[in-house]
Symmetry: C2
Subunit: 224 residues, 2 copies
Amino acid sequence: MPNYAIIVAGGKGERMGQQLPKQFLELAGKPILMHTIEKFYNTSPEFKIILALPENQFDYWEELCYKYGFTKIPHQLVAGGKTRFDSVKNALKLVTENGIVAIHDGVRPLVSIQTITNCIAAAQINGNAIPVVDVVDSIRFVSKQENTNKAVPRSCYKNVQTPQCFKTEIILKAYEQDFDESFTDDASVVEKLGYQINLVEGNTENIKITSPIDMAVAVVLLAR
Amino acid sequence: MPNYAIIVAGGKGERMGQQLPKQFLELAGKPILMHTIEKFYNTSPEFKIILALPENQFDYWEELCYKYGFTKIPHQLVAGGKTRFDSVKNALKLVTENGIVAIHDGVRPLVSIQTITNCIAAAQINGNAIPVVDVVDSIRFVSKQENTNKAVPRSCYKNVQTPQCFKTEIILKAYEQDFDESFTDDASVVEKLGYQINLVEGNTENIKITSPIDMAVAVVLLAR
């Protein structure tokens, strides 16, 4: 029974203050995306890896693979859509056998093998699992309508990471739904079907690289 | 009209995996706490700086000040209490004139002068102000009683930082209240009196150093 890893790399680079989409930025000698793909391969070479990338970046990715000698890890390319939802939906068309689908942000290269393994294992038992970590800062709920805000206990909240893992039949059914504003990640799509989401402890280093500061932080974390 | 800066450094070091309390860890050539104090001095040398520190660390702090030649910035020491609430309460005993009180975590050395200035200015107008930044990750609300969790829109939440700034009469009155479990920071103490809290944009670098990873991140951020 194969497991699938869908790596979503939709970045067009606007938030990094530079032209190059963030998934291609070089981190410790190679593009972020290669680190991310390697994490899944190193967890299990049996993963069927599907990379959702904007179609106009396909050629550039192939150039990069050639340049960095990144030819060992088989992966299928699929055209990203306008939104993350569309990208995942396109990638799911390549999921044809029963198993687990792990959906992961391309710009989270610091996920640990332990996190991937734990999420896959929990999804095999419970149908789904996502990695979460404690909220460290105090947080406030802000009501824009009422122009008010109030302290909320941070122990009642968790920060959500990826890979978000699901049995194939569940995630395929979930992505048949029409897009909804409440879909902030894959778990929220599955939740809309009525499933309870299972939380697994993630690794705090598993940050999403979206700013130049994150990039600097990732360099340090990767060197540790 | 003087402004006060209360720097709360209650750390006993347990979370850093070493004996030395985290506020004394060396960052770019000097203890974290010295960076923090300098930020307020550099914002305005007129700040009356009060440092709340566990009483058994007073001698060590004086040794450090001597060792690092940290003698230029006047500051008063006050004994920290069992909890952060007690420490702030003790420090407030030294607030004798009307003005603004800025209460800041000793382990947030990366606060910007802009953040301090903006919060003080907003508190002068509105009575209080605290710095907040956007929540970056998806978050979930977790109900331990019901053993359930659900996605919540992260745009409705803000991460809270320090310095939390208040007019003296408001913060003095707030800290006359008995301790309550809902007091997670100074704003929540003031909120309990019925005040609406004013939010000011903070700086994302203004992290609280509580883990070895944070420490590594702080080194990078400080070098930028």
